[in-house]
Amino acid sequence: MSETEAVRRRLDRRTVLKVAGAGGAALMFSSMPGAAPAAAAKRRAYVLVIDGCRPDEIGGGRMPTVKALRDRGLWYPRARSLPVFETLPNHVMMMTGVKPDRSGVPANEIYDRSLRAVRKMDRPSDVRVATLIEQVNRSGRTTGTVLSKEYLYGVFSARATHRWEPFPVVPISGHAPDAFTMDAATAMVKQFDPHFMFVNLGSVDRMGHMDLTGTTLRAARTSALGRVDNEIKKFVDLLKATGRWQHSLIVVLADHSMDWSTPDKVVSLAPLYDADPMLAGRYVIADNGGADLVYWTGSASEKTAAIATMRRLAMSHDGVLAAHDRAATSWLRLGARGGDVVVFCKAGWRFSDPGLLDNPIPGNHGHPATRPIPFFLSGGHPRVDHGVRTAWASTIDVAPTVGAFFGIAAPRTGWEGRSRL
């Protein structure tokens, strides 16, 4: 039985509540035993992640609600995602406030040396430090997670007081469309009113991945932008209509942005490595779209030479921006799980490993071109300032920001981010 399956069985033994969503569909929430609706304290914090949203898309005319929230809130236009610029590591950074060498989650896909297999980092035990969710729980408050992607549900799973399991999940994409996700978020607010709720809206990212017109028209992507804006409007309207707005902090951000490539702009390192007598059969690549994590599986004595060869061969390929010796590149902060060599592609390119057809999707992220993210604070609580800050901000700032809002101190393992209140 996998760890994820074990979590689900454990969840099944917990309180399960079926709630009718706005669209008439049944929404299933699981809660910790004995969990009650939130206490009388009115202060609320909501983190809304518009997965994969580019900062320039907010001002592009398709997202009037989000733009208005940004313009009237506290905006950090220098905000950045952190390596590897993927969903799982950056959501984990949001909730832990530390970088991957400490959080334990450096990428969506890693090579698990104990399993000798590439796998997704979707296990609760993949996170090595306390999360904000648990901290808020320990403070006597209640928490909720409404995460549209199955693997996000996996990694955060049973941490929150109240949880929504993404449903219905679109085949292939593995996510629940935003309409369902926001339906669940609003239902959770109405039903459980958690003090803190963590929401991932996945459709902008998923439509971006699949958008064959991404390099030009971005037709599907643009449509998703309008829809998520409308869903966020519903959420804001609910807060205002129910008197919650003036007690609320809303952190709106993305985990990474998005870049598109055409089928001729593909980097496949495996053929190069297979042709090298030192590397052949003694490496593994974890493909993360815009980043390849390469793991040396040969002898320790040859590791230094192997890393040099991996980097040299990677840099010989068109479309490769950089090939870093992970351990020697201090700013990456990925930890050993992040591989031995981290290869980033250029804008307009993608990795497809081990074969040229293994990554057919046009929209990708993980490389530095997808680093800029929207990041702003909104809500009607007096602690939410207004204006534009030129300070750096990043995904690791979410936990300290929400912590500061609730007066919760950093965990023993500390936060590396800063409160952006």
Partner: protein
């Protein structure tokens, strides 16, 4: 030896007024009475005072001493001299916060340049030089914000292309009247190398004022004397005394269309180019309030590209696009050399340095002080009889219809591709190129792939300021403004949809205002260049909103304060 018959007749330039129509170049000046203190200051410090390259705790201060009547610029005459300088928080110098001594002499043409340190960030200061008990004019300057500060705004006056023979520097005067700026960006062609009759006002190249020396500047003495003449201009003196300058050179500080191995306006009979350029650079280092090679000391190097930080709001990267560039392509479409990867406009070292400036993300706005235009321009459908006049102004239209000006980034597309790709690859946002050179005003977006615009990512924007006086399209055509130029502007913007604003007609200056929400360029035009008292009017404003890499029109300029 005198600087200029018009400006060294014993009167004080600030009091100078134009007696009559000046288009023919025959000027008469009259002056009001001076106080003894002013007279003494004018005797010793007749070239004014200046400051530049503001850092959070330091600023360059400049003046030129005339210790004896014989110690004229470029003469090599006159004694060594020493004196003091002071920086105070008040105009009366009751609160002096930094001071020191200086030494000068004929080896450096009696120029004085010090790096005043120990100053506080984002503060106004007053400074002066003293010699034999006589004080110079008091200058005002301002330090940059602390590197970790978040200033509400940073505002620059932006100028380029000031040809003294083509008219009066009213743009400088109007900038000096403002009290809302933090510094002046001078993007090059601060002075011109030509002799009288070679490049002046309008179709006839009439000299509104005549250059000194009365021939093309070639020798060190020539360059020094020409600098000295410009520094005697009352409007320029006022602006220098009021704000710190941040300068770069373009070609005319040495010779027209300069490149690393020569210049269009350099002939073999004029000697070895490298020697001539060294003389030009030496005079520039002596006469401009700038740190070359990172210091205020003249003669220790000529590296001009440098960065200046304005807190977390902006980092300014000033480029030198003349010293390291390959020769301009003569026949771009024929030899295809404009895209030759072995040719460079910036040089490998500077290009790598610029990439670092852009991707280190030290500030919100990555502003590039860019002497020549980087926006790609493709042309088509322009009537043949308009090509030559447009070329005279901008060089944009090679007679064979090639879609680029080989003197600007269009002639070095490999370098441009590297920069644009770097911006994309590293997710760099909010890059603003601020440019001069082509005597016209532009606002444009920078498409990653011009052919796909607008269905392509834009990697930054460019604002181009027009000339202070140098001839523009209507001057070359001899046409009234907003007549013949309109057709050219229409064709250019139609063929280049990423160009959103273009004004080929006017002279003037611009204001670049940076806030956390947007970068806005206000375009001002000045009236008749032959008039010493020409007015200035606002004509357009364009801005780029933070995070967009697009430009949009703005209905009004920022308040002048």
């Amino acid at each position: 030896m005198t600087d200029s018959p018009a400006l060294t007749d014993g009167t004080f330039p600030r009091r100078a007024v134009l007696a009559g129509g000046a288009a023919a170049g025959a000027l008469a000046l009259t002056g009001a009475a001076q106080s003894p203190t002013e007279a003494a200051a004018n005797r010793y410090f007749k070239h004014g005072v200046a400051s530049g390259d503001p850092l959070p705790h330091a600023v360059v201060l400049w003046t030129r001493l005339t210790p004896t009547a014989a110690a004229t610029p470029g003469s090599g005459q006159g004694p060594g001299a020493h004196g003091t300088w002071q920086v105070a928080t008040d105009q009366a110098f009751r609160h002096v916060v930094s001071q020191g001594s200086w030494q000068t002499g004929p080896r450096r043409d009696h120029t004085i340049k010090v790096d005043a340190t120990g100053l506080a960030p984002a503060r106004w200061y007053y400074y002066r030089f003293r010699y034999r008990g006589v004080s110079s004019r008091v200058g005002r300057t301002r330090t940059a914000p602390a590197t970790d500060a978040s200033p509400a705004n940073v505002r620059f006056g932006v100028v380029s292309c000031a040809n003294l023979q083509a008219g009066w520097f009213s743009a400088y005067r109007h900038l000096a009247k403002r009290d809302d700026l933090h510094a002046i960006l001078h993007l090059g062609d601060y002075l011109y190398e030509y002799g009288p009759g070679e490049y002046g006002y309008g179709q006839g190249n009439v000299d509104v004022r005549r250059h000194v020396p009365a021939h093309e500047m070639i020798s060190l003495a020539d360059y020094r004397r020409r600098h000295a003449q410009y520094k005697r201009d009352a409007d320029l003196q006022s602006l220098h005394a009021r704000y710190p300058f941040i300068v770069t050179w373009d070609d005319h500080e040495s010779a027209n269309d300069a490149w690393s191995g020569g210049a269009e306006n350099h002939q073999p009979a004029e000697g070895v180019w490298s020697a001539r350029r060294a003389r030009a650079h030496r005079a520039y280092d002596e006469w401009m309030p700038v740190r070359m090679n990172g210091t205020a000391a003249p003669g220790d190097g000529t590296r001009l590209f440098r960065r200046l930080r304005f807190g977390k709001l902006a980092e300014l990267s000033m480029l030198d696009l003349r010293t390291y560039r390959s020769k301009q392509a003569a026949y771009p479409l024929v030899d295809g050399s404009v895209s030759d990867p072995d040719r460079s406009i910036a040089g490998d070292v500077q290009l790598a340095w610029l990439k670092t400036s852009l991707s280190q993300h030290r500030a919100l706005w990555k502003v590039v002080g860019n002497p020549v235009m980087i926006t790609p321009i493709t042309l088509g459908g322009l009537p043949a009889d308009l090509i030559d006049p447009v070329n005279d102004v901008t060089g944009l239209l090679p007679a064979d219809g090639a879609p680029y000006n080989v003197d600007q980034w269009d002639g070095y597309t490999h370098d441009r591709r590297q920069i644009f790709r770097h911006l994309r690859d590293h997710g760099v946002e909010n890059t603003v190129f601020v440019t001069g050179d082509i005597h016209s005003a532009w606002a444009a977006e920078l498409p990653a792939d011009k052919a796909l615009y607008p269905l392509t990512q834009t990697v930054g924007v460019e604002f181009v300021t027009t000339s202070v006086t140098s001839n523009n399209l209507k001057d070359i055509l001899g046409a009234p403004r907003r007549t013949a130029s309109l057709a050219v502007e229409g064709i250019l913007t139609a063929a280049n949809r990423h160009v959103k604003y273009l004004n080929f007609d006017d002279h003037g200056f611009s204001i670049l205002d940076l806030t956390a929400r947007r970068a806005q360029m206000d375009y001002y035009v000045v009236g008749d260049r032959t008039s010493r008292t020409a007015g200035a009017t606002w004509t357009a404003s364009w801005a780029t909103a933070t995070g967009t890499q697009k430009v949009h029109p703005v209905s009004r300029p920022v308040s002048a304060g």
